[in-house]
Symmetry: C2
């Protein structure tokens, strides 16, 4: 193994940048004080961090998948504005004694996910900048940039009563994967493939970027990062509507998580009742974040947009409900509340 | 004191955003999936982190000045491209038990420095996005965005033999301040004001953004973040020239640091010879980073640009020299080399 401290910053940077591919819109790439890129339309920008011991642990760490996740959570935010990704800036803080091949895997994971988003949406999405620092904790801090035509950005504020609610992608898989990891499933040699797949979603979510290109004529849209109840609640609040979820439309997603719920509850000990399994699977689907699905509202009669399913309706009122019964917006929050 | 964990993420964010001022070019500000801003010309982007125990320690921590420094090092990079700042994204990772007023001071420090840069250059520079995370270590990860007219970006690659070398701002003050802190000067009640001022530059550098507006017709330009020898070496390498520094032009900067050099050498014990003092002061000026001065090359006959001084000449050859004698480019590097 070759530690970063064996190589020094310049050589480490050289190795990372060998994984980079430039975009045709780059006029000045990495290596100067700042990048210069040609841009058309409005600029869309967002930033998100992943922090060791908060968002992942060293025990579960897969460097490549960490790169996927760090890129995906930012790219999904750009896409949720109805924008095309333009490039990423990747700031990475890692310990001095990190194996350079691990850091390369992290960087290559970011590159690959940015390119996957680009392919889905017909865009080049290079890493146009960033920073590298030694650090006692692993931290990724990504900024994703995008472009959108004037007046075309889709905010959270445009939903109207009567609009249908649409979902692209999955719900609850990442949350189930996290609970499986806490239950020790990561080191279970007999773990069924479908449960391992849930852990895979927790470690490296795969947003369905292409769905953005096929979206209904959205009045509002959001990336589901903190849970359907919380993120739909944000649309409801910003738009001044009530979001009513149709449980029947989520039933296959809930059913797919029942084996994982059984595994987690068995691992916690005690008797595992069917009602408890149903409750946990529903909780993951309603309140689990980080699958980075997209939720949009749109006026009725959108046909059958590829990659989207209808999961409810906007109504007069406020908050989020499930088949008419209020749902607390209880998704993830930093700082313990 | 009110800890972040007493408030929860939403309330903490609300308090931070109360320190923010929006810009007229913001179409969607913080609070949606991503910001949307109106942009003219080319996009300039750069990102830099500050990490606890690497870039600062808890002992010396001044939250407001940390915000100043985090913003300044990024804004200086945008300005060193000849660009106007457009906005910042600020990702902040801090411990759960941080006093909310400390985090507010950090954020307000970022806001104030961005506004200082904006005033100097006739631009609005709002905080348009970012992220907030709990973390075992304090980390700031800022992305600075700017704009420049097509073809007007000033890279490191345009210097030509015969060009004069110009400096705006100071050199060595931040490095002297760091050595003073290591020497315990931070807790010396009898520390002279001028030495305290050097510590101030280390904690909160104040780039002379206005000098960018008055710059000579620069063929190349760089922000001095890693030391004059290293950063001028980057221009020399990118441009295929030799950068010869005129020591006489730096003499007042060196002389101003002699009292600090005496203090540091006295604190280290042993006899302090005048030659040692001169050597350390010169080392700070040549190799010390983080004052975030600007260095530019320009064809001769630039008159007397306000805020700039002539410090040398580009010649045929490679590397950096001082009055003709080669200087090693020995500035800061992460990962121990």
């Amino acid at each position: 193994m070759t530690r970063l401290s064996d190589l020094g910053e310049s050589e480490v940077l050289r190795r990372l940048l060998a994984h980079r591919r430039s975009g045709a819109h780059e006029e000045v790439g990495p290596g100067d004080d700042a990048a210069v890129t040609k841009i058309t339309g409005r600029l869309v920008s967002t930033a998100d961090m992943l922090v060791e011991n908060e968002d992942f642990t060293r025990d579960w760490l897969d460097w490549s998948r960490l790169g996927t996740k760090a890129a995906a959570q930012n790219l999904a935010d750009v896409c949720a504005m109805g924008a095309r990704p333009h490039g990423l800036l990747a700031s990475l803080a890692v310990p001095d004694d990190t194996d350079v091949t691990d850091l390369e895997a992290l960087f290559a994971g970011i590159v690959a996910e940015a390119e996957r988003a680009g392919r889905a949406l017909g865009a080049q999405v290079p890493i146009i900048g960033g920073d590298l620092s030694s650090s006692g904790l692993i931290v990724t801090a990504i900024t994703a940039l995008g472009t959108v035509a004037p007046g075309e950005a889709v905010t959270r504020a445009g939903a109207r009563p009567g609009d249908e609610i649409w979902l692209a992608g999955t719900l609850g898989r990442s949350a189930a994967g996290l609970d499986l990891l806490f239950a020790g499933a990561g080191s279970d040699p007999e773990l069924p493939d479908d449960l391992a797949g849930l852990i895979g979603t927790q470690l490296a979510p795969q947003p369905d970027y292409a769905a953005i290109a096929h979206r209904p004529a959205a009045s509002a849209m959001i990336d589901v990062s903190d849970g359907l109840s919380t993120d739909l609640g944000r649309i409801a609040e910003a738009s001044g509507v009530r979001a009513d979820i149709d449980r029947a439309a989520l039933e296959d997603l809930i059913a797919a998580l029942r084996p994982a719920a059984r595994y987690v509850l068995d691992a916690r000990g005690g008797e595992t009742a069917d009602a408890g399994i149903d409750e946990l699977a529903l909780h993951w689907v309603l309140d689990g974040g980080e699958d980075h699905g997209f939720v949009a509202s749109a006026p009725v009669s959108q046909g059958d947009p590829v990659g989207w399913r209808r999961i409810g309706e906007m109504q007069d009122g406020s908050g989020v409900s499930l088949d008419g019964a209020p749902v607390p917006t209880s998704g993830f929050s930093h700082f313990g509340k």
